[in-house]
Amino acid sequence: MAKILILFAHPALEKSRIHAGLLKNMKGLQGVTVHDLYEVYPDLNIDADREQALLLQHDIILFQHPFYWYSAPAIIKQWQDLVLEHGWAYGHTGKALSGKRIGNVISTGGSQQSYTVGGHHGCTIHDFLLPFRQTARLCNMEYLPPFVIHGTHRLKRSDLPFCCMQYRETLEALRDDKYSPAMLQEAAYLNDLIAQTSDSN
């Protein structure tokens, strides 16, 4: 059973529907640690030693955050700058994270159509996540497909339970290593794999 660390970043969770719901629904899930960055570091003064120790205790790292301006809220960047030290996370001697898996769990206002070449946003989510992908590569980590919730502005309250259930199932499948490397290689979103496993069952 793999251990999952969720690095959660939302600067105004009190205004959020999606992420508050996602967190609520996966509460108490075995093998999953939620680390609420804005709550722990309201002054963005990140404790790199503590973060590195947390990383070492887990096998799968997930950044969970709204997809602000095609990227993550500021604290994620601050976290990367301070925690992923040269000689520890990357470089000749930086092998601490080698072999771990890493990925993003994001919510966007735009629909999946808008995130296509020629769509409203001009590029795919996969393209926009390039910095995260390359960061993973530099740290010798395996980059997972993202888990994406699209169209949050149009989302109705009644749609929430479905999103939450999907997320919970995804976490459980990752934890129990249900997805083969080939499946992960092929999938655009982690969301797609749920349909596949439930189809095959």
Partner: protein, 646 residues
């Protein structure tokens, strides 16, 4: 004594102190030695300004010791006293018993009858609270292991005086007049159990009165709002305790100490302290002068070698016993040396005990006056012994660089000058030093400066509003001056001098209150820091957080509020009419506060944050559920979220 001669005597004392003490301090000898020298100088042997009345003054000035113990008590939390119980009883008890025994045996061996030997043993086992504590405080050694041990021993000695006074009449040779030396107390003539009962009664009275009577009285007196009345009451308190203790035959110093401890937790503690402090200082100074004046140099010079031998032998014996005990109580060698050296003299109480022995016929007059001279000399030698320790011995034990201090000559050129090392300044100083920024510290409190020196931090005594001093501190080359002085007057003076002479310096200025802030704004200061603003906002933010607000939200709210508050204050300052005469400062302050609070209401700062709010976007997309979004200010929702996260 007519008025003229009274004022003349007062003038002599004051002038001698004003001349001798600064000279002694400048020479690194400490204030105690300065006072003693002043006493010797004006005493019957040198200038002869004062004669026999010196003895009366000595008794009067002993009251300074009582005040000192009151102040020590008031600074001492009862819990701390409880923690010290082992050294007080163990170390103090052993010191008194062993010193008494050893000195008695030596005196007996030197040919004194057993009763005189025992009286001398007891008398000489005591040390001088006044001299030792004054020196330890001045050097900032009170919190050290040696300081704490010395304090414990002195405290026990003050208690030990009580049984000693009881034993002395029993030592009187049969047939001699058993006068009690003018110490007529209530207790005499009463049966033993009654005496004991009275002693306990007095102690319990002080504790109960301190708890239940003095506090409400202090409140009443404070409410009258007549400054000097509070001082009067504070004095009455100490004098009253002394009278009560003398009445039942206890040590007034001990009673005052007890009274101080009882009031240590009182809200008027600091007022009491600052009111009594100057009296204590004056009386102690007077006491030291009187000791200096009372040294009978004719007697000393008639047999100098014998006297010197006696004093040195006595101090050596006491010192060795103390250091033996220090070893048992696990003091480090350097602390043990200080402990032994500092307590090696004989205390002021010996004067009382010796006159007692003379009256009781325990000691012949000649021996008694010789012993009095020995006591005074041992007290006079103490600052010298301590000096010896500080200059010769201590540097060998402490690894930090030598503690030779260049008085006031500032040889540093640092980028930052910090004026004022009080509550605010000391955190700034520590922060800058911790980050490797060399800082020149200026302060007007010599005790604080001494303390810093002992910590190995260079600080300079001086008034930062003096242009020459600032220049010496490197103001012409420095980049920043941080002004964190205690009063707005000092602060304003420094600001003016800096603006006029050192325009190269950026000023960061602390302000205590809103009116102070306005004053500084008027002086054109750009960077003003209100003392309690950040603390208040941090507490406010933490309160929000504890109520369930997200930590980051609470922090931003505090930050936003501070910006709002500073802006509002600037606007208010611009609107303030420039009538300089504050007819009713308090009323004005209330008005200003109410204006500030009104602006708080007009601008609900927290709602201005539109970022991270998707409602407008939802509206654009035509989502009908906008109302379903949790509102930032509905704490119910926040509390739910918060609970789920933890």
């Amino acid at each position: 004594m007519n008025e003229h001669s009274f004022f003349f005597t007062a003038m002599i004392y004051l002038a001698a102190a004003v001349v001798c003490v600064p000279v002694a301090k400048k020479l690194g000898l400490g204030s105690v030695l300065g006072y003693l020298l002043a006493g010797v100088f004006i005493g019957p042997n040198v200038m002869g300004f004062i004669g026999a009345e010196g003895q009366d003054i000595l008794h009067f000035a002993e009251f300074g010791v009582v005040m000192m113990l009151f102040l020590i008590g008031i600074e001492l939390e009862p819990s701390l006293l409880w923690k010290l119980r082992a050294p007080i009883i163990g170390l103090g008890g052993m010191q008194v018993l062993i010193s008494t025994a050893v000195i008695s045996v030596i005196a007996w061996w030197m040919g004194q009858p057993w009763n005189a030997a025992l009286a001398l043993g007891m008398t000489f086992s005591l040390s001088s609270t006044a001299i030792v504590l004054q020196i330890l405080k001045e050097k900032g050694w009170m919190p050290s292991a040696a300081g704490q041990s010395a304090f414990s021993v002195l405290l026990f000695q003050d208690i030990a005086v009580i049984p000693m006074l009881a034993i002395f009449p029993l030592l009187a040779p049969v047939g001699a007049a058993t006068s009690t030396g003018g110490h007529t107390t209530f207790r005499e003539g009463l049966p033993g159990w009654m005496q004991t009962l009275m002693v306990f009664g007095a102690v319990i009275t002080i504790i109960l009165a301190g708890r239940y009577l003095v506090r409400p009285l202090l409140r009443l007196v404070a409410q009258v709002r007549v400054r000097e009345l509070f001082t009067t009451f504070a004095l009455l308190l100490v004098v009253g305790i002394s009278v009560l203790m003398t009445l039942v035959g206890l040590s007034p110093a001990l009673g005052a100490f007890l009274g101080g401890v009882v009031l240590a937790n009182s809200e008027y503690r600091h007022e009491l302290e600052s009111d009594i402090e100057p009296f204590k200082g004056l009386l102690l100074g007077l006491f030291f002068i009187a000791v200096g004046a009372s040294i009978d140099f004719k007697l000393v010079l008639s047999q100098p070698l014998v006297m010197l031998g006696l004093v040195l032998a006595l101090m050596m014996v006491k010192c060795l016993i103390l250091m033996g005990l220090g070893k048992i109580f696990k003091l480090s060698t350097d602390q043990n040396l200080l402990f032994g050296y500092s307590l090696s003299q004989v205390g002021e109480f010996a004067f009382v005990l010796l006159s007692f022995t003379r009256q009781n016929g325990i000691l012949p007059d000649a021996t008694a006056s010789m012993m009095t001279a020995v006591v005074a000399l041992s007290m006079a030698f103490t600052p010298l012994v301590i000096l010896l320790y500080e200059k010769l011995l201590q540097p060998r034990f402490t690894i930090t660089e030598s503690s030779t201090r260049e008085a006031d000559a500032i040889d540093e050129k640092n980028p930052v000058i910090l004026a004022g090392f009080g509550k605010t300044g000391n955190v700034i100083g520590r922060f800058l030093l911790a980050n490797g920024v060399p800082t020149t510290i200026l302060d007007l409190d010599s005790d604080r400066i001494d303390m810093l020196h002992n910590l190995g931090i260079r600080a300079y005594y001086g008034d930062a509003s003096r242009q020459d001093l600032l220049h010496a501190a490197g103001a012409a080359e420095a980049k920043i001056i941080i002004i964190a002085t205690d009063t707005i007057d000092q602060t304003a003076e420094i600001v003016k001098v800096v603006r006029q002479h050192f325009p190269n310096l950026q000023m960061l200025v602390k302000a205590a209150t809103i009116p102070d802030t306005f004053d500084l704004m008027e002086l054109g200061v750009l960077h003003i820091y209100r003392e309690s603003l950040d603390t208040s906002l941090r507490m406010g933010a933490d309160a929000l957080h504890m109520l369930g607000f997200r930590a980051y939200n609470a922090r931003r709210a505090a930050s936003t509020f501070r910006q709002h508050d500073e802006k509002a204050l600037k606007e208010l300052s611009a609107l303030r009419d420039d009538r300089k005469t504050y007819l009713n400062t308090f009323k004005e302050r209330i008005e200003e506060m109410s204006k500030l609070i009104q602006t708080d209401k007009v601008k609900p700062w927290n709602d201005e944050i539109l970022s991270w709010d998707e409602r407008s976007l939802m509206e654009e997309e035509g989502n009908p559920e906008i109302e379903g979004i949790p509102d930032a200010n509905s704490s119910e929702e926040i509390l739910n979220v918060k609970k789920e996260n933890t």
